[in-house]
Amino acid sequence: MKPNTITIDGQEVPFIPGQTIIEAATAASVYIPHLCHNPEFKPHGSCKLCTVQVNGRSCSACTMPAAEGQQILNNTKELNDTRRSLTQMLFVEGNHFCPGCEKTGNCQLQAVGYYVGMLDTHFPHFFPKRNVDASHPDVLLDLDRCILCELCVRASRDMDGKSIFGIAGRGMQSHLVVNSDSGKLADTHLSLTDKAVHVCPVGAIIVKRTAYLSPIGERVYDQEDIAEVALEHDQALTGGEHG
């Protein structure tokens, strides 16, 4: 085998030392499902949708450095079944009602659900009581839909330099919190141009007055599935394909 190469489902994939498995895969146009990963940010590894088998062991592709000799399984029935269960777990943990959601058709959680063949939520719903914060003039925060990926937390802290969001609580009580005395978005310096407003993969952070602008059929995931959209997006950010 050539140096600096891993194999994913039997396909040889080159990597640059320092790359994670998902970065190498993306560059080679191999899609590994993910929600909390976004190439613009430091690897996080919380959603576990990118779980792959590396030499027989389960690993998160978004945090595991690529290394010589890795035999990786990605697109297998077993792993996709696991991903379907994890997606269903995210659904029952919050309150997700796709048909009425402003993000429907443009939502990564919904799109991943389609991708992994999810036909129902399978597990009993927890129906947690969570709040909506509509205080901000331009941005709506609907915690029913938060999947705790911390992308807004990371964006606000690392790119906007504002640290407007945080995660508090423990276990199933974990929840997104807002950095102001009232706990409301209106009392922060959040602005529409903040990166944090635009990284939410689901419908938890919504820009007001932008809902349902695209008719059904013209929404992001009506046209392409998430594998295609994610590869285009992630490749554009990391300098395109290689290999």
């Binding site: 590894g45 969001f165 005395d181």
Partner: protein, 606 residues
């Protein structure tokens, strides 16, 4: 919202005593909680501003740790240990009785603000339970008479400092001593040996001893220390500018484990000495003892030992006259979070954050506390290292098995006549331990706590060793009267409560597993639920982020493997019953309308 000037002064005083250092956030919040019985929103703001951190971080830490709260707890904050061993000693009945005597519901603060009652994860007094804590101080050997007395003391508002001292008596209960627990130790002996023989010789001794980490994972100690000394790739190990840290993990949270409590109570010099020897070898100036909040009663005695060691020049500057050998140890208290026993979560907690396990690699030996090379070892590991430094590697390696050298200290509790601390050479059979602790009619043993393995009576010839039954030290005996499903249920409630919430499989999966097991135990389970239970247990095991999630399903998987019949006996004959409780869904409507007649109920067909 504003604060009284006197309250503000108290808060500012606490902050100043910690030099407004963000890494001290958890310590500051502990003291605020003790002073005000809660961390209120205005206080969070004051702390955030003083420490120059977002108020969300203060809120995040407050909400993460069980012993901190944003709502006021009672002036008598009572927390009853909810370990399975406490249950077996009747803790649940005593709790109910106490709540009745106090006129209070579990999980609540009484309206007059005098007292609050909560259940809490194992407090580490399994050999002298049922146990509880009042204002953080351990209460042992509870029975109805003691509960009566406690209820009277609370209702009369007698200060805790005036309560009978025997309530707070914590015994060592050392039943079997071997290499580590027997024989005297002269403080300073190990450091002298290390300074005399030098780094390479000491690394060799440690290597020869075969010592592996005693927290359960069993990483070779010599290797860990050497990696830390060498630091990240490309650094010069002898560069004095490189900061390195020595951290002793005394966050002994695995239910059924209490050996570290005894070691810190009666062998603290050995533990601190092991840390100091480590500092000498790796070149560290600062050590931390991360003491679990449940062991608050050990805090002052340990501070006195540290003070004594400074007097003896075993800590501080130029230790034992060695120029530039400066090292000191701080004690950092936890606040009720099992996950902080995981080494990278512990480091996060030391830095004043939520105990969230980090992504690895990189590992703490190269990127640990404040991103610097850090050795994190268990209390027992440091103690063993101190003894090995004095007596040599061969002395230690002479006992145990080929792959598991030396001895292991066990915390034995449950259905036996002599619960307490037992030190055995590795390779000892479970049968031997059961005989020594005079187990009564043993049915099974939980080895290594809930995250370990439940073994049945057919397996008592198995051995305690890394190559067979690895354990951090918890050894809980169950007799034939115990219900395996109830034991498993207790463990699953524990994991769902202690999951940090970072990754999906553990956060959601442990709660799903808990609910599935509840459904089966409450008589609503069907064969389909067993399939689901197994499926979810395997998913949580394989996809979780850290050791907590990866082992959280062990209670289910290990009992299901051994006692499928006990699970099947609890199932209904029908193939499926929905998890949705039709009648339960009407409960709120009944409450709102004040109705409870037959028409206000729906019967589930199944």
């Amino acid at each position: 919202m504003s604060m009284q000037p006197t309250d503000l002064a108290v808060v500012n005083d606490i902050i100043q005593r910690h030099a407004a250092n963000p890494t001290e956030l958890l310590q500051i919040l502990r003291e605020v909680q003790a002073s005000f019985r809660c961390v209120s929103a205005p206080v969070m703001r004051v702390i955030a501003d003083a420490l120059s951190i977002p108020v969300t971080q203060v809120q995040a830490v407050t909400e993460f740790y069980s012993f901190l709260s944003d709502d006021p707890v009672g002036r008598y904050d009572i927390r009853m240990s909810d370990s399975i061993t406490d249950h077996m000693l009747g803790s649940r009945e005593l709790a109910e009785y106490l709540c009745q005597r106090l006129g209070i519901k579990a999980g609540h603060t009484r309206e007059d603000g005098v007292v609050s009652f909560h259940f809490t994860s194992c407090t580490g007094l399994c050999d002298q339970g049922p146990a509880a804590m009042v204002n953080g101080m351990a209460l042992s050997c509870l029975d109805q008479a003691r509960i009566d007395c406690i209820a009277d003391l609370v209702n009369a508002e007698t200060p805790v400092s005036e309560w009978p001292t025997e309530f707070f008596q914590v015994e060592d209960n050392i039943r079997r001593a071997s290499l580590l627990l027997e024989g005297a130790f002269e403080p300073g002996a190990a450091i002298r040996k290390a300074l005399l023989n030098g780094r390479d010789a000491m690394f060799n001794e440690l290597d020869q001893s075969g010592l592996r980490g005693r927290g359960g994972a069993g990483f070779k100690t010599a290797l860990k220390w050497r990696f830390c000394y060498e630091g990240p790739e490309g650094t010069d190990p002898d560069d004095p500018a490189i900061a390195r840290f020595v951290v002793c993990n005394a966050d002994e949270g695995e239910p059924g484990t209490f050996k570290d409590r005894v070691l810190l109570n009666s062998y603290a010099h050995e533990v601190f000495e092991g840390m100091t020897v480590c500092a000498a070898l790796i070149g560290s100036r600062q050590g931390y003892l991360y003491l679990r909040g449940e062991y608050l009663h050990l805090h002052q005695p340990l501070l006195r030992v540290l003070e004594e060691r400074r007097r003896l020049n075993l800590l501080g500057q130029n230790i034992l006259g060695q120029t530039a050998f400066d090292f000191d140890i701080k004690i950092h208290l936890g606040a009720g979070a099992y996950i902080c026993g995981e080494e990278s979560a512990l480091i996060e907690s030391l830095e004043g954050k939520r105990g969230k396990p980090r992504n690895r690699p990189p590992y703490p030996v190269t990127h640990g506390y404040l991103g610097k090379p850090t050795v994190v070892n268990n209390v027992e590991t440091f103690m063993a290292a101190a003894r090995i430094a004095v007596n040599g590697g061969a002395w230690f390696a002479a006992q145990g098995t080929d792959k598991s050298k030396g001895t292991k200290i066990l915390s034995v509790s449950g259905d036996c006549e002599r619960p307490g601390i037992y030190e055995y050479p590795f390779g000892t059979t479970i049968a031997q331990i059961l005989a020594d602790c005079r187990a009564t009619d043993p049915f099974g043993v939980q080895i290594g706590g809930p995250s370990g393995t439940f073994i049945s009576a057919h397996e008592f010839d198995r051995k305690m060793a890394f190559e067979d039954l690895a354990t951090g030290g918890s050894f809980i005996v169950f007799n034939h009267t115990r219900d395996v499903l109830e034991i498993t249920r207790n463990f699953m409630h524990f994991f769902a409560h202690e999951s940090c919430g970072f990754c999906t499989p553990c956060r959601v999966g442990t709660s799903l597993l808990r609910n599935m097991l509840d459904k089966i135990c409450e008589g609503h389970g069907t064969p389909y639920d067993l399939v689901e239970l197994t499926h979810m247990a395997k998913l949580v095991r394989t996809t979780s982020h850290c050791g907590l999630g990866q082992t959280a399903a062990n209670p289910i998987l290990s009992t299901l493997e051994r006692y499928p019949d006990l699970y099947e006996k609890r199932l209904k004959a029908i193939s499926f019953e929905p998890g949705f409780d039709l009648d339960g869904a009407l409960a709120i409507s009944r409450q709102l309308t004040g109705r409870n007649d037959a028409h206000a109920h729906l019967e589930q067909v199944g």
